[in-house]
């Protein structure tokens, strides 16, 4: 199965900065392996962020995003103790959700 994400969320003033590291191959579908065969595309298609269960951001991603992607965004109104959950879905239908507490 996929490895867990590393999520850090730090509040400052009326917003919190969230930093996420995801573990994913992010194959574009354009590369070839040693035998000359195309490596099938395998990348994250959708990323969603939830603050205390309420969706605050969704993003559509494509094959142009790097391997092991890093994502940073800020959430208005997030305070220390709030829960931030990140979910990604890839083109194979695999899903992963990880949660972190705002500090």
């Amino acid at each position: 199965m996929s490895d867990p994400m590393r999520i850090r969320a730090q509040s400052a003033g009326d917003k919190a900065t969230v930093r996420v590291l995801m573990s994913h191959e992010m194959e574009t579908g354009l590369r070839k392996d040693g035998a000359g065969k195309i490596i099938p595309a395998w990348f994250i298609q959708e990323v969603a962020a939830q603050l205390n269960g309420k969706t605050v951001m969704t993003a559509q991603w494509g094959p142009a995003v790097s391997k092991n992607p890093f994502l940073q965004f800020s959430v208005k109104g997030a305070k220390a103790g709030d829960k931030i959950a990140i979910t990604w879905t890839d083109n194979k239908g695999d899903k992963r959700t990880d949660e972190a507490t705002v500090s």
Partner: protein, 265 residues
Amino acid sequence: MLKTLSLLAMAVLSTAAFAQQKSAADGIAEYRAMLADGNPAELFEARGEDLWKKKRGPKNASLEQCDLGKGPGVVKGAFVELPRWFADTSKVQDLESRLLTCMETLQGLDAKAIAATPFGKGEQVGMEGLTAWISAESKGMRFNLPQSHTQEKVTYELGKRTFFYRAGPYDFSCASCHAQAGKRIRLQDLPELTKNPGDGVGFAAWPAYRVSSGEMWSMQRRLNDCYRQQRFPYPGYASDVTVALGVYMGVNAKGAQSVAPALKR
């Protein structure tokens, strides 16, 4: 007070001048600083820590009793004192070769087969994580390789000879690229490895995550690539010659602060 103020003013002035003449190297440093915040090496660290504690192999044992030089199971600070001499194997070993020993003696895995596995495949994937995590446990500490044992001194001399050994179709040696200050290949600064090149440079910057290929490279893989670039035959994984080069660079880097696992272009 006045003196401090004028000094401060000078400092501000010089930074301003510096900003105007931003060199390519500064640009790269800035790019690295931006990336360092989310170094994917962290993902490998997490994997390595799990693997260290996981019971595996024919003997169904974890690596937690592995002696990295500071006693069985002591990981913190071990990385900045490697390679060193080990009494049980009567050999000078670096991190990777020591891990192979532990995997064989504790877990019953085949060290030879692991050493022969290509980078990034099979058991070598686990090694990436292990080296990332173990080096991270010594992050910020300063290199202090022991040189008290005769074999450690002999290995240093062997490393030195290897470093200056010119051969191959290009008549190259490690020293061709790494024995002068202020040299670079394209935009890549070349560390001077015959002395301490500074904190977090050269030996003190590996293992590292390479952004361009999305791979975690240990010192062994880095040396393997140096040999490729010199058009030398590939050295064996965790072989004596690679350990000797590690001793040479590590002893020279005495006092340098380790930033491993680092982030590379």
